[in-house]
Symmetry: C2
Subunit: 343 residues, 2 copies
């Protein structure tokens, strides 16, 4: 998760050895700062941030719908005012493709309408209709344009439909006509119950083509990841590893701990002796507690590295367990240990 | 400069390859957080922060005299209230030695009285008298106690006397009777003019024993360092490299630049192509400008590394130029290029 073209606290060198991970950056934020002019001048985000790994950019839709401020959705696109200076901007599906061409992300997302968690059935229907319409325009424009920096780009549509089975089926069918290389599931993890979310993911497993990668947007906790992989998901994005790190929350196989808790003041055991994160293997919990109490930036770095490595290790482990045919047994054991909860 | 046992934004691994540098930490801050109980339990600061390089701790005197809040100096010691919670603490010269034994620093500083920059002659006289008295008690107590963790510790007295030649001579003579391994010059860089400061450093060069290292406390800018080395100083401590970094100020051989300046928005040259700092050789000024504008922690890290490496490179270069017999020529060229100023 690298909102502004930087993974919070981490250098490009530090994230370069996270296997099979993708850096997510936000089209909306990059469009405002540094802006497309700067990105075009430096041949895109890879070059700008000195990163030759894979980059995915979201469409900006989620920010437009979740950030406070004026916005208006029409059949043509979205008009919104910047959260920074109040300036007015118009996004169309085509413009979102153009911006991502300039960013040069490897995975581009189509502009979609993402209704909030408390939306009603009619909002889901409307969001689905506009999303399909925009997806067709996005794909058309994508095919009419070329990558700017000599590497391939992939454009991914976003399935909507709330937590309604019929709508999800309809959205999937309409988007599958575009024959995209991968499919994203949007409109989940926006406030609905975990059971509703997992039920919807199960339907998606049924509706989506088996041979194409599925990306569940905005999910989630380690337990969410395990349960969603069990339901056919291949890819996630989530702010939890980096955001929680900055609040002192660390992910471990025994669950989440908060290093600010006074019980860690004199706990001189290493943060994590498993060696998943290099820093967590050489610094103690007592030292990290001290760094958080004194607001030292090094503390945020150690915690961020710990959580990013934990998530990547978790994904890699699941991949291996699936290949070994042992996933279900492993997943049950993981969930009992991690959160004393069921598969 | 590592106030709380961490060099701002940097990991112990990153600072481990800064040649001939010493980590300075603050006795006063460590005494309050994490406290001596924690430090004793983990065999001192080296172990606590995973750092096997050299550590110097100040005496806490400077913080006691510079931080706001109640304090009272008696012939016996200092009474002060914590800037954190208002709790009352008493520091004596002996207690300061004991605390630094627990911290386990390689270089320990004696408690001294450091008058503010606007102090009058009588304050300098009083500070000198008490400092000498405390220095005798410090050395006595030092000799009566042992290091706690099996490595040698050195105790350093602090010369006072304001910017008065006679007082500086007297303070030096009194402290030299203690036959310490090194001598620090305190009470400078507290608000007096640069000319007064350099004049005083010149007197100190005359008064201090030639064969023992001299440490000029709290100095300074790159130009200050060059001019002070020319006047016989071996060692410095200063917050500028790390503090300025967090404000976006970078040290370069062509002077100080502020990366937040809008002219860097589309400057795609590397921060420093000389390779002094690994990060400055791979990230551009435009990217660093963007990181500061978006308040990304990575920006503070890049700037901090740039400035620390610049300072260490500067000290190393001076050492080499002295060995080559070329110091004066080099210093003149450096000062003209750095600040268009005189030697």
């Amino acid at each position: 998760m690298g909102t502004y073209g930087a993974v919070k606290t981490q250098s490009s060198e530090e994230i370069s050895d996270l296997p099979s991970s993708v850096l997510l950056s936000n089209t909306y934020h990059l469009y405002l700062r540094p802006g497309t002019e700067i990105l075009a001048k430096t041949d895109g985000l890879h070059s700008f941030m000195n990163w030759d790994g894979t980059i995915l950019t979201d469409s900006g839709g989620f920010q437009i719908f979740s950030l406070e401020g004026y916005r208006k959705v029409t059949e043509d696109g979205v008009i919104f005012r910047s959260h920074l200076d109040g300036s007015e901007h118009r996004f169309t599906p085509e413009k979102i493709v153009d911006i991502q061409r300039i960013i040069g992300s490897d995975f581009m997302m189509m502009l979609d309408v993402c209704p909030p968690g408390d939306a009603d059935y009619q909002s889901w229907v409307d969001a689905l209709r506009i999303t399909t319409n925009w997806a067709k325009r996005s794909m058309k424009h994508f095919k009419e344009t070329e990558p700017l920096y000599g590497h391939e780009q992939v454009l991914i549509p976003v399935v909507q439909g709330g937590t309604d089975k019929k709508l999800r089926k309809q959205s999937t069918a309409e988007l599958c006509e575009l024959e995209a290389n991968a499919y994203a599931i949007g409109g989940l993890a926006v406030g609905e119950s975990k059971l509703k979310m997992l039920e919807t993911v199960e339907w998606m497993d049924e509706f989506l083509p088996k041979e194409k990668p599925r990306y569940l947007m905005g999910v989630g906790t380690p337990a969410d990841l395990v349960r969603s992989v069990a339901r056919g998901i291949d890819m996630f994005d989530c702010v939890l590893p980096t955001r929680n790190a900055r609040n002192g929350q660390l992910f471990t196989f025994d669950g989440k701990i908060n290093i600010r808790n006074s019980k860690y003041k004199s706990d001189f055991s290493y943060i994590d002796e498993n060696g998943i994160s290099p820093m967590s293997a050489v610094y103690t919990k007592a030292y990290l507690h001290h760094l958080f109490k004194t607001k030292e930036i090094l503390g945020y770095r150690i915690a961020t590295q710990n959580n990013l490595r934990f998530y990547v290790y978790l994904m890699k482990t699941m991949q291996e367990e699936i290949q070994n045919g042992n996933f279900k047994t492993w997943a049950k054991e993981f969930l009992v240990r991690y959160s004393n909860s069921l598969f």
